[in-house]
């Protein structure tokens, strides 16, 4: 009896060992994933803990100051809104235009392939390199100075690949039958795009644009590189005005040794995150609406 039972027992032990490994990997993977989520929670908690006390109407409506308790983000917030608005004006026509060409017109030629590879490479270029491009091209060569215009042009180039890629995806999701029906009715290519394809792809395009711009809102390095100021006690009064943006103001406060300025930085971060949250929520709502209509 024993002689028969033993190998079976050994085998079941082997099986249970194998399953222990299986369970180990599963729980280890689960644990690591939880850790990553916990890190995100810690980050948010830490910033709320540090900054919520400093957040007030005074903080949002004051200019920067040497005294941390009197300082605020008015100029930075206005600068951010202004720069991002102008970035949208520059990047959207260029990006959507390029995407329409590549998705609707492209003849699978060599040039279009080069353009395509080039765009995916541009998407991987570090943002600070765009800052150097902006410094050499817009600030120096085109003599825009460290103005809102130079900042917006720099950010526009930075988000352009993202805009093109997401717009192309939205255009690709439009069924071909829609285009064919339009052609069958005698519409030209552009008429088809203008009155059929673009309206159908609109929510998808808009979602992509908002996400691209929300990336631009958080960008710091390229704007520092083009020389955006860190101390701006006035509102930008035109596209050639000096400016600062919220992330730069936060960076400036983080780099100071006094604890009170770190508190200001955390409060500034809260405002920045709320702004991003608002933009992303709009994008998600639009996407859901779009999906419901399509499905």
């Amino acid at each position: 009896m024993n002689t028969i039972a033993e190998p079976v027992a050994r085998k079941t032990r082997g099986i249970s060992l194998r399953h222990t490994g299986d369970r180990l990997l599963a729980s280890f993977g689960f644990l690591v994933m939880l850790l990553a989520l916990a890190a995100l929670a810690t980050l948010l908690f830490d910033i709320i803990h540090d900054g919520a006390g400093r957040l007030s109407w005074q903080f949002v409506t004051s200019y920067p100051s040497r005294l941390p308790e009197q300082a605020g983000i008015l100029a930075a917030l206005a600068g951010s809104v202004f720069v991002i608005g102008l970035t949208a004006v520059v990047a959207i026509p260029l990006g959507v235009g390029a995407a329409i060409y590549l998705e609707e017109y492209e003849q699978r030629g060599r040039l279009s392939r080069i353009i395509e590879i080039n765009i995916s490479n541009l998407a991987g270029v570090p943002s600070i390199i765009y800052g150097l491009l902006g410094l050499g091209l817009f600030v120096r060569m085109l003599a825009m100075g460290r103005s809102v215009m130079a900042g917006a042009c720099t950010l526009a180039l930075l988000v352009l690949p993202v805009v093109i890629i997401s717009t192309r995806e939205a255009l690709r999701a439009v069924p071909g039958s829609l285009r064919e029906a339009s052609y069958a009715l005698g519409a030209t290519k552009w008429q088809t795009i203008q009155s059929q394809v673009l309206p159908a792809a609109f929510p998808g395009i808009l979602t992509g644009l908002i996400l691209a711009l929300s990336r631009a809102v958080g960008e710091t390095a390229p704007l520092i590189t083009i020389g955006a100021l860190t101390y701006v006690p006035f509102l930008p009064d035109g596209v050639w005005s000096d400016f600062t943006v919220l992330p730069i103001q936060i960076f400036n406060w983080v780099s100071r040794p006094q604890a009170a300025f770190a508190e200001n930085a955390a409060a500034g971060i809260l405002v920045l995150l709320l702004l991003l949250l608002a933009m992303n929520s709009i994008a998600i709502v639009l996407r859901d609406r779009f999906q419901r209509r399509a499905g």
């Binding site: 990997l25 689960f30 994933m33 980050l43 026509p93 590879i117 991987g124 710091t220 983080v254 955390a266």
Partner: protein
């Protein structure tokens, strides 16, 4: 045949759309030319061997030396720490989400993880300096206020979603026949994942890892805020270092007039950064395409 106004409009629109698309090539050209122009000017004054192989970087001091190795070393040190966090954690998360997790878990976890990638880097810089470094100082003696370790770990957290979502895509696109074959031979899920699926998705996973390295090398604000501004050739993660990107920020914050040698250094350093990340991105793209072909 009469050319109708309609055809003319069509042609104008097509041409202008083409110009938008072709404009993207001008951006690349612009980057290369701007960087090249100032780098050539820089190399006229500093011999290239001094720049590439020198071990002292003091362009802002009285005694100027232009050896870029300390900046490269700082960049590699922080990036390696980031990869040490992001690669194992990202891969394990990907294996869990693709091979083990219920669909419901996956649907909720993935977007939350992607929030990590959407947080502005200046926020991570604050987190590294004000939270992670002080916590680490509690049990690592001799850890300076500015160091490579804290920002390295936080950078790893930032690129984790990139590694995990791209690796998960790679794992999922392995044909299910391979998976079922392994199960049919009596393999457990662990054996299937580690010995069949991961090797089969290897080129896709490598593409993700290389892209993550490129992202870490180009990351600026986290290291500019929390790693310090002392170019130093060291492997010690406890002391302040300066990365290539942090140096560009340091010079940009100061009042360095255009045309000076200090001004040109940031373009020379930028050129190295551009070439390095460009090569990595190219390699990553190539690997991903090969992976797609394998399982098309």
């Amino acid at each position: 045949m009469r050319v109708r106004a309609r055809d003319f409009v069509e042609l104008v629109i097509e041409r202008s759309l083409f110009l938008c698309a072709a404009g993207s090539i001008l951006i690349t050209l612009g980057i290369v030319l701007v960087l090249l122009f100032e780098t050539v000017n820089f190399l006229r004054e500093v011999p290239i061997s001094d720049f590439l192989f020198g071990t002292v970087w003091t362009p802002l001091f009285l005694n100027k030396q232009f050896g870029v190795l300390p900046l490269v070393g700082g960049t590699l040190l922080t990036s390696s720490i980031a990869m040490g966090v992001a690669l194992p954690a990202g891969l394990l998360t990907a294996i869990y989400l693709s091979e083990y997790a219920a669909n419901g878990v996956r649907r909720y976890v993935r977007p939350v993880l992607e929030v990590l990638a959407g947080v502005p880097t200046v926020v991570y810089g604050y987190f590294a300096l004000q939270f992670v470094t002080p916590v680490l100082q509690g049990f690592i003696p001799g850890l300076a206020g500015f160091n490579a370790l804290g920002p390295g770990i936080v950078m790893g957290l930032m690129i984790l979603p990139l590694v995990s979502s791209l690796s998960e895509d790679a794992l999922r696109s392995v044909p299910s026949g391979l998976r079922e074959g392994a199960y049919a031979l009596g393999a457990t899920r662990m054996q299937t994942s580690l010995r069949v699926i991961v090797p089969a998705a290897f080129s896709g996973i490598s593409a993700a890892a290389i892209l993550a390295i490129s992202r870490a090398i180009g990351e600026t604000m986290i290291v500019a805020i929390a790693a310090g501004q002392q170019p130093r050739l060291t492997l010690d993660p406890r002391v302040p270092v300066e990365t290539m990107t942090a140096y560009i920020v340091q010079v940009s914050l100061g009042d360095t007039p255009a045309g000076t040698l200090e001004y040109r250094t940031i373009f020379a350093v930028g050129m190295m950064l551009f070439l390095g990340t460009f090569a990595l991105n190219l390699a990553s793209n190539r690997l991903r395409n090969r992976f797609r072909e394998e399982y098309a």
